[in-house]
Amino acid sequence: MDTLPLAVTGDDAGPLTPAQLRELYSLMVAVRHLDTSAIAWQRQGIIPGYAPELGQEAAQVGSGYAVDTTRDFVFPTYREMGVARTMGVDMVGYMSTHKATWHGGLYDPVESRLAPIQAVVAGSVLHAVGWAHGQTLEQKDGVALTYFGDGASSQGDVHEAMNFAAVMKAPVVFFVQNNGWAISVPTDRQVAGGSVAARAAGYGMPALQIDGNDVVAVVEATRRAFGHARSGNGPVLIEAMTYRRGPHSTSDDPGRYRSLDEERDGAGADPLERLKQRLLADGAADEAFFADALAAAKAEEEQIRTGIQALGSRPGTEMFDLVFQETTPALQAQAANWREESEHV
């Protein structure tokens, strides 16, 4: 499905260069390696839990690649590690959420242009609309990019967000990663009609349903959507069809609801492998490049792991100090009481 007019899309137009394709590959390898490592970390007790994004690297890296962090703003769920990495977010700060150090992560969301990690399914989709409308009010040209899943598409907030955005012509790109599953529930028991992209027409909003495992298609679609929204044409919806190759999280057991055969059939070709084959076919990269990229990914993972292992707990005072900008006497009294009792012991 492609109901987005082929408008001029600004400086981002034109096909991806070989250097850009190699960059995308390096990013995807870094993300793949960090993602699979994080599962190992969990098994080793370094972090208590993790929500893998195995299989969604193209969707995440490709869409994150289209973001201009000097003016755009991104609203993730709990599974957008690849977007964060692509945007250049501090990854120790990002992964700290999975160490249960701080719910939203320790990275600075304002600096990094990535809103805090969001655990409420569909929780931040409306925030994107508000932020985007702020751009309209201030006549700025930033675009809000908001991520959500096939499961999240069932939430009322997503509908309200699409309707608000379309009524107000807010510059929002709704990026759905349809990975086939919401924990144990497959898309056909979740998304009536079978496509989230098909919902857009009902709001008079253009939509693109794309192969979310083809990073080039993802970059191009996201750039087009950004161009459309940035030029004052209102919101766009992208549904990237992909597959959650791993468990929902490290505490999930997919064997209870899908077979290995179903997994293999559903997953299709590996997005990383697809890009590799393309680079090889184009002659844009050789085995040495892939080896280097993997080595860099490994070094990076090691550094992040070291950072995560070094992370201590946050001091208890932060519980009280970060609730308000202007604290209250009642809260200060509770903090004082807490301090006294914990020091006594």
Binding site: P109, E138, T328
Partner: protein, 370 residues
């Protein structure tokens, strides 16, 4: 108006009554009374006071924006935003589609973008669809973002009952809001308070739920724009609306005026009641509660919300905690019942009326140990 309920109740018979207490019940020290002569003081309705406060907030802060259902062209179903769109433009004051979660969720994004959103939920009962965004997002974003994304959102909610409205148009959600970490909650009792508390709330860097007592919208009163508080400072904490020495009535919103009426009646029977307008329902001004009840040694808390797990329990417990030794009787609660807010005439049975408050006072005054 005769007051048969307290007739014969002997508050003076209490030998341990604090004789140092000010006996100023007759001079009725209302919060705003002292500036009544000031030339700047004007008489206006609460609706006008709120409208003026919003007008000034828009003028003073270019980042302030007002929106909600029917807030723009219509000026709100209660006309609180009347004329503001015409004056400040459709960018600053606008109508949204009919979806409360959308309105509050959008507020979060605007706050992230540096705005000071002043959304309206049309009626108390329609805050429920937005509770998820209020509790999980607005109240927590400052915390979640480690202070980098403050949520200066002032949510106006026409609240409480008393106007014979349809279902869900007479709810009191303060106990719910006050329980949510990260929110502040305030409710004005008269036009002066409405003007100052709204201006104050709407310039704070934290989310404030502003509960407007809709049954008081059309009541007029003196507003002194230059003097927020007798203290001369910001309108923080609770406020003594009438001094007394025999018992403290604690109330907020529309119940304050009713408690002042009750105090008037009780005075006819020689019972001097102190009326404390709690104003801030979170944080609660524990010091003011303690100061008043240490003097009066008895307290009744009045609210419209249902009894069980209402804010009256919190107020009573705070009083008991700080005045356990001096209390002559357990704190009494006169509240709505644990029933859905009823229709029509039954409203008069449900909302604490003068008689029920007097009965509560009587129980406390007549309480005998053992």
């Amino acid at each position: 108006m005769s007051n048969s309920i307290l007739e014969g109740v002997d508050a003076e018979g209490d030998s341990t009554a604090d004789s140092t207490a000010d006996s100023t019940a007759d001079s009725t020290v209302k919060g705003t009374a002292k500036n009544a002569e000031s030339p700047a003081t004007t008489v206006m309705s609460m609706q006008q006071a709120l409208n003026r406060a919003l007008d000034e907030v828009l003028a003073e802060n270019p980042k302030a924006v007002i929106f909600g259902e029917d807030c723009g062209r219509l000026g709100g179903v209660f006309r609180i935003t009347d004329g503001l769109q015409a004056k400040h433009g459709t960018q600053r004051v606008f109508d949204t589609p009919l979806a409360e979660s959308g309105i509050l969720g959008m507020s979060v994004g605007l706050a992230m973008a540096g705005f000071h959103p002043i959304p309206e939920v049309q009626f108390d009962g329609f805050a429920y669809p937005a509770i998820n965004q209020i509790v999980c997002q607005i109240a927590r974003m400052n915390y979640r973002s480690r202070g980098t994304m403050p949520m200066p959102i002032t949510l106006r909610v026409p609240s409480f009952g008393g106007i014979r409205a349809p279902e869900h148009h007479g709810e009191s959600l303060e106990a719910l809001f006050a329980h949510v970490p990260g929110l502040k909650v305030v409710s004005p009792s008269n036009p002066h308070e409405a003007y100052h508390l709204l201006k104050y709330a709407a310039t704070r860097p934290d989310p404030v739920i502003f509960m407007e007592p809709k049954s008081r919208y059309w009541q007029k009163g003196e507003v002194d724009p230059g003097n927020a508080d007798p203290s001369g400072g910001a309108p923080e904490g609770a406020k003594v609306m009438r001094e007394g020495r025999h018992l403290t009535l604690v109330a907020w919103g529309a119940m304050v005026a009713r408690c002042l009426q009750v105090a008037e009646l009780a005075a006819e029977d020689g019972i001097e009641i102190e009326v404390l307008d709690l104003r801030w329902l979170k944080p609660i001004d524990t010091a003011a509660l303690a100061a008043s009840v240490r003097k009066t040694r008895r307290a009744v808390v009045v609210h419209e919300a249902p009894l069980t797990s209402g804010l009256g329990a919190e107020v009573a417990q705070l009083i008991t905690q700080s005045c356990f030794d001096t209390l002559k009787a357990p704190v009494e609660r006169v509240t709505g019942f644990d029933v859905p807010y009823p229709s029509g005439d039954l409203e008069d049975e449900y909302i604490p009326n003068i008689d029920r408050i007097l009965f509560g006072i009587q129980r406390v005054l007549e309480y005998k140990r053992g």
